[in-house]
């Protein structure tokens, strides 16, 4: 921690938040809001005189309210920066006549009530998102009595109680009588693995954190009765099983089952009822103290950052990586990386590993001092552009700017453009060319596909990342399907222009399939949302024109879903057989009259 504080290459903003990010990979402009500290970071030597005289006493959040602090305080002894900070909402001193006792005792004159929030702009080439997690707040877990019974604590509170730097100098005491508890019970999976409260996922660290705590307790207090109530103990990491075994050897009592009810006895001890899954009986225990092994939740700012940076979240609310196996620290947006619990619950070792990986990925991107952009980007044909702004609306990367009011034509920022081609598909005036996947190129493929015996062909558009890869996977798995299938690859299903579909039907295609990544998995953030809208639009038009909408299908197939691909193709083949020569001729006639 202190290394960060004194590293000449690290500029540290504390009490600060990122409020706006503009630009793109290689060149981001970041606006940072730095809240006033009211104490000079440079001058303050953390002597603590100010704190002594401050009359305001408040619960100390670092110790989770288990101790108190003043309105001017140091967050914790090893804090970086070490400078004190004033909580302006608690301080009486905005009017120095009222208080200002701290100002009087600070010889160096570090305290300044006139400091105000400041905004700074920084230019960077890459971003590492390491916003971590929020421990689960078990207030809603009424069955464990966290808010009702003082002797029910969270695991994080216990950490502070056994910490030598904590409120009790490391002496474990029971909150109600400040005596050492003779018995203590840990409840696992609090806020995790539950469909009702907290989260459905496993929080990954609480089992081992409990095992650790039992070892610490048994080391200090060998006679203490320590129990753990659990569903199953997840000790999957290197060296974890050893610790778990040691804990059992030291006499920690592991009870398979979570408490059903917790009640308080007159002496403030806790009566716990558990259905023991190992014996099938209901057991009752009396414990002096209980510790809830709380889970890990996404950090509160996750959604705000996600929107600001154009990132994606997985259903659990953590940031979604570009690829779960092969790009685990990259965001789908180039130049942004994830480290630590921001991407999902994990322990320190994994957080650190990921952080080093993220740093290496960022260096890999930056070391040349320039970036080479893939030329598969879109281009505006200015003479056709009517400045309607549609392309800018649909671009998942905000890579296109159009001044709709001043009627300035669209401009593509090629560095930010990732090449999905949605803009080209959506432009009502055909004013955008998607390089390497131009209308002409794709229409020629459609023509060649339907040149001979079109009634037998299954024209399929497949996106490079998911459905085309899914077809590859079907091949690798040797899954057999109809040989009538012909794929046309685009980078994204968002590229599939309405025109391609009409053209295909006009040339005699019996059926057409548009396929892409599942919603939420799109390689281009959310470009496939536009695919859905477009296909729905074409369906409506088909109905109006008297063409059976079933002949146009939309399917999501991931890179791992070879079986789904093969099944979809068989379904398409059945559909194709149901389309008669007369129906195809009729469609061609309808379309030749103009839509």
């Amino acid at each position: 921690m202190t290394d960060v504080g004194r590293h000449p290459r690290i500029k540290l903003y504390t009490l600060s938040e990122v409020v706006d990010v503009k630009g793109y990979v290689g060149n981001f402009q970041v606006k940072i809001l730095k809240k006033a500290r009211y104490v000079s970071e440079k001058e303050c030597t953390a002597c603590g005189e100010c704190s002594k005289v401050c009359p305001v006493v408040r619960p100390d959040e670092f110790n989770l309210g288990l101790s108190s602090r003043k309105a001017i305080y140091s967050p914790f002894p090893q804090a970086v920066p070490s400078a004190y900070v004033i909580n302006a909402n608690e301080c009486l001193g905005h009017n120095p006549v009222v208080c200002a006792k701290c100002v009087e005792v600070c010889d160096k004159g570090c305290i300044n009530f006139h400091m105000s929030d400041e905004e700074a702009v920084e230019h960077v080439g890459s971003i590492v998102v390491a916003t971590g997690m929020e421990p689960y707040d078990p207030t809603e877990m009424d069955e464990y009595g966290y808010t009702r019974f003082e002797n029910v604590l969270t695991s994080l509170e216990l950490e502070r109680l056994v910490n030598a730097g904590g409120p009790t100098r490391g002496e474990l005491i029971r909150p109600t009588d400040r005596k050492r508890p003779r018995s203590i019970g840990f409840v696992q999976c609090v806020g995790s693995r539950s469909a009702r409260k907290g989260s459905e996922y496993c929080s990954n660290v609480c089992c081992m954190n409990t095992v650790k705590s039992t070892l610490v307790l048994k080391e200090h207090y060998p006679d203490m009765d320590v129990k753990v109530f659990y569903i199953d103990i997840r000790a999957f990491g290197k060296g974890f099983e050893d610790l778990y075994k040691r804990s059992r050897r030291l006499g920690v009592h592991y009870v398979r089952g979570l408490p059903g009810t917790v009640e308080e006895n007159p002496d403030r001890s806790l009566r716990v009822a558990v259905e023991n899954g190992a014996t099938g009986t209901i057991e009752y225990y009396v414990l002096d103290m209980m510790v809830l092994a709380i889970g890990v939740q996404p950090s509160t700012h996750t959604q705000k950052l996600q929107e600001m940076l154009g990132l994606q979240l997985n259903p659990d609310g953590f940031f979604l990586e570009a690829h779960p196996k092969l790009q685990p620290v990259d965001a789908a947006t180039r130049g942004i990386f994830f480290a630590g619990c921001a991407e999902g619950p994990k322990d320190i070792k994994e957080s650190v590993t990921q952080a080093s990986a993220a740093a290496a990925r960022a260096i890999r991107l930056m070391h040349r001092g320039e970036i080479l952009t893939e030329p598969i980007t879109s281009e505006v044909m200015v003479e056709h552009c009517k400045s309607c702004g549609k392309c800018a609306d649909v671009c998942p990367y905000h890579a296109i700017t159009v001044d709709v009011k001043k009627k300035k034509p669209a401009m593509v920022n090629t560095a930010a453009c990732a090449g999905c081609g949605t803009c080209a598909a959506e432009c009502p005036f055909g004013a955008i060319t998607m390089n390497h996947f131009t209308d002409v190129q794709i229409l020629h493929q459609v023509d060649a596909l339907l040149e001979e015996d079109p009634q037998e062909k299954i024209l399929t558009f497949a996106c490079n990342w998911c459905s085309y890869a899914g077809a590859d996977y079907a091949g690798v798995s040797r899954l057999q399907y109809s040989p009538n299938v012909r794929l046309i690859r685009t980078m994204c299903s968002g590229r599939v222009d309405e025109e391609f579909i009409w053209h295909g039907f006009a040339k005699g295609a019996p059926v057409i399939l548009v396929s892409g990544c599942h919603i939420g998995d799109c390689h281009y953030i959310n470009a496939n949302h536009w695919t859905v809208k477009r296909v729905e639009k074409v369906h409506r038009k088909m109905k109006k024109l008297g063409i059976r909408p079933e002949r146009l299908q939309l399917e999501w197939i991931s890179a791992a879903e070879g079986i789904r691909f093969a099944r979809t193709m068989e379904r398409m083949e059945r559909l194709r057989r149901g389309v008669t020569a007369e129906e195809i001729e009729k469609t061609k006639a309808i379309l030749s009259q103009g839509k």
Binding site: M1, H7, R9, I10, K11, Y13, T14, L15, S16, V18, N27, V30, P75, F76, Q78, A79, V80, G125, S126, V128, V129, A130, M133, E159, R160, G170, V211, K212, V216, G239, H301, A339, G340, C341, A342, A355, A359, A362, E370, I371, L372, T373, E374, H436, H444, A448, E451, E452, K457, N464, Y468, D472, A474, G475, V476, R478, Q480, V485, R486, A566
Partner: protein, 202 residues
């Protein structure tokens, strides 16, 4: 025939790969090459044992130089596998790497229609024709070089942010770290001992 099938004056070389027997067991590669040779602008069409092997690539390179090919179609495995290989090969022969098109006649054809040799061969012909139609329309492209700021923003000063910042800074990159609380350290700073080492957290 088809109005779009007309010549653009391109000089296209088509290579139909056997991939050992992976393709050739099911698809009649020589027949696919023959059918391709009749397409407009196709100067040369061959079936080859392994297009991706070094001798295979060298032979194509020589054709490009000797026959003056300006576009290449390779009917073989998935472009997701060897597109980079063949793009490099084109570049080394002096062609723009984007003037390449691949027809996937292995993953999308020979491997998935193993018992339907005739149909698979017809499909391979179609896929190759589609590739020729496309390659004819391709345009040379150049990657763009853009300047970049060698500096990283790290959002969050927990153990992960700290590690990333130090790794970057120690490698000579400037770092801006933004932490919302008055001190860095995150959750780990609040812990007493930590598993698996059971030592202090700070």
């Amino acid at each position: 025939m088809n109005k779009m099938e007309t010549s653009t004056g391109a000089k296209i070389g088509v290579y139909v790969c056997h991939c050992g027997l992976n393709i050739a067991r099911t698809v009649d590669c020589a027949a696919v090459a023959r059918s391709a040779s009749e397409l407009p602008d196709v100067v040369l069409a061959k079936d080859v044992a392994y297009a991706c092997s070094e001798p295979g690539q060298q032979a194509i390179r020589e054709d490009i130089l000797e026959r003056g090919l300006d576009r290449v179609v390779i009917a073989s495995c998935s472009p997701r596998l060897h597109e980079p290989t063949f793009r490099q090969m084109l570049q080394s022969a002096g062609l723009n790497p984007y003037l390449l098109e691949m027809a996937n006649i292995r993953e999308h054809c020979s491997w998935v229609h193993m018992n339907e040799s005739d149909a698979a061969t017809r499909k391979a012909m179609d896929l190759t024709r589609m590739a020729v139609a496309r390659v004819r329309q391709l345009k040379p492209l150049q990657p763009e070089r853009l300047p970049l700021t060698r500096r990283t923003l790290v959002i969050g000063g927990g153990v992960a942010g700290i590690q990333a910042a130090l790794d970057l800074a120690d490698n000579g990159y400037d770092v801006v770290m933004v932490e919302k609380r008055p001190s860095i350290g995150g959750t780990m700073a609040q812990l007493d001992k930590t598993f698996p080492t059971m030592d202090c957290s700070i």
